[in-house]
């Protein structure tokens, strides 16, 4: 019995092993779907783009470089793939995403657990305050706490260094805490 490492799965995929590909698909479908839906806000587009994306990965498997961890590669390439599709679909609708690396993610109240571990965050306005954070802080927060990725993986996806990821998260959480306490004063 062995636990499958990313490296092993990736190697098998490159050799054309459909079983390994199905393991990859099943482990990442949900996470990429949620990420794609956050970016595109469109269920059909997310579903279609994921089909095309995975097909693209499989068809180009022989040209893929060797990987130790798969998550950053999949998140980053899928983001690019999806944004290209969005641009093709409508030039006007998504005109605000001219910069490929920055996305504006929006959180909804029903995604948040009402009983937060950090007591200060048990606040009705949390979603609103969260959405008011700068885009890059929001993306780091999403990838860390929603997708459950490690800071090192996030740094590859956002194309910044490790320290910048920690700083983004730190600033985000800190200003959120301050915002919450200010919001409490006015309630």
């Amino acid at each position: 019995m062995k636990k499958l490492t990313d490296k092993y799965i990736w190697k098998s995929l490159k050799k054309g092993d459909l079983n390994a590909f199905s393991v990859l698909f099943e482990s990442y479908y949900s996470k990429l779907y949620n990420y794609g839906l956050k970016i595109s806000k469109n269920e059909t587009l997310t579903e279609d783009s994921l089909q095309d994306f995975f097909l693209y990965v499989y068809e180009h498997r022989e040209n893929l470089s060797d990987l130790e961890t798969i998550a950053p590669y999949l998140f980053l390439s899928y983001k690019r793939f999806l944004m290209r599709m969005m641009k093709k679909k409508s030039r006007f609708k998504y005109s605000d995403i001219s910069n490929e690396n920055v996305v504006d993610l929006e959180f909804t109240a029903d995604e948040l657990i009402t009983n937060q571990e950090i007591v200060a965050f048990n606040n009705a306005n949390l979603t609103k305050l969260l959405n008011n954070l700068p885009k890059r802080q929001k993306e780091a927060i999403y990838l860390k706490y929603y997708s459950g990725l490690k800071a090192r993986e996030i740094s590859e996806i956002m194309n910044i260094n490790y320290q910048s990821v920690v700083n983004l998260l730190h600033k985000g959480i800190k200003s959120l805490k301050e915002d919450v306490s200010i919001a409490k004063l006015f309630n």
Partner: protein, 329 residues
């Protein structure tokens, strides 16, 4: 535990024992950090920031359903096959007969959904073993008090509660997988013989021959090799047992109607009897619990079963209503 210096926030974030303290997970780590924090009051701001960063914001688990993922995989798989088999001809055909094709699709999807709804379930009572042959030629032996269901058009995907032994036919041409889904995990099979048993809070899988992959509820994937035995609980979110078993008949003899015990305590052995026959077992004498039993007992006749146990270990078993009362001779 580390004795290094903690000067900036990264030193805390990169320390596993610190994270354990934040989640109150490991006694030694908790003690260490309580002590460390009390002795380093100047670092309390850093400690709090690092703690906040680890805890962060809690989001709900918003997973796409297993069925949906399986459906999307099937879609992708057929696309891959289409591309690999004569891609050019396909395009021409589609253009020529696009109207006919549209109609055909509507009709088949109609059938598809009709068929999907016809779910077939096989159930066994206590003391009953059932052999089922699925449409694709796979053999399933269902142990007592178990149930197996699948959709008529999709007999290579089955839901199991209880215990079953599978002998799955390999579909060489299509590489089509066989799926077994339980409350704790799903198993992907590529032609193989294995045993699955679900209990209240766990699922046990034993692989006799071939090759299977497990997808556990917690998202982990594991490949099993022949002789591997794994017990996993989704509720506890951990693998309870992971070992190799040389004598495979200990795990699979039930399918031929007998239970094999090899130096098993009478208490454990009687748990098996409880599960198979639905009686509840009462030990009048605690000492009898630890007596070791070796031998075979039948699974479909409780009276012979009782007699066999009485003969091999020194106990008297009285059957009364729904209980088996055990006392030392």
């Amino acid at each position: 535990m580390t004795k290094r210096k903690y000067n900036d926030i990264n030193d805390f974030l990169e320390d596993e024992s610190f994270e354990n303290w934040v989640y109150q997970k490991n006694g030694t780590d908790i003690n260490f950090w309580e002590f460390w924090i009390a002795n380093n009051p100047d670092k309390s701001d850093l400690v709090n920031s690092a703690k906040d960063l680890i805890l962060g914001i809690s989001f709900k688990n918003n997973n796409v359903s297993e069925e949906k993922v399986a459906l999307e995989w099937q879609k992708l798989q057929s696309k891959i096959k289409d591309k690999e088999a004569k891609p050019k001809q396909k395009v021409i055909l589609l253009k020529k007969f696009s109207v006919a094709a549209t109609i055909l699709i509507i009709v088949t999807t109609g059938f598809y959904f009709l068929n999907r709804n016809s779910k077939i379930t096989h159930k066994t009572h206590y003391g009953e073993i059932l052999k089922v042959k699925l449409q694709d030629g796979s053999d399933v032996t269902l142990n007592s008090n178990s149930s197996l269901s699948y959709y008529k058009n999709e007999s290579r995907k089955v839901w199991l509660s209880g215990e079953a032994f599978f002998k799955v036919d390999k579909k060489k041409a299509t590489n089509a997988k066989f799926w077994v889904i339980t409350q704790d995990l799903s198993i992907q099979v590529y032609g193989t013989a294995f045993n699955v048993s679900t209990k209240k809070k766990k699922t046990d899988v034993f692989l006799e021959e071939g090759d299977i992959w497990l997808s556990l509820k917690n998202g982990e994937t594991k490949q099993m090799l022949p002789g591997n035995y794994i017990s996993y609980s989704a509720k506890e979110n951990r693998v309870l047992e992971d070992k190799d078993i040389d004598n495979s008949s200990l795990k699979t003899s039930w399918k031929d109607g007998t239970l094999l015990f090899e130096k098993l305590s009478l208490e454990k052995a009687m748990e098996k009897i409880e599960e198979s026959y639905g009686y509840s077992v009462v030990f009048k004498d605690d000492k009898a619990k630890n007596t070791l039993i070796t031998g075979a007992v039948p699974l479909t006749n409780i009276d012979i079963c009782i007699e066999a146990i009485e003969k091999s270990v020194d106990v008297t078993i009285i059957k009364k209503d729904n209980s088996l009362i055990i006392s030392k001779k």
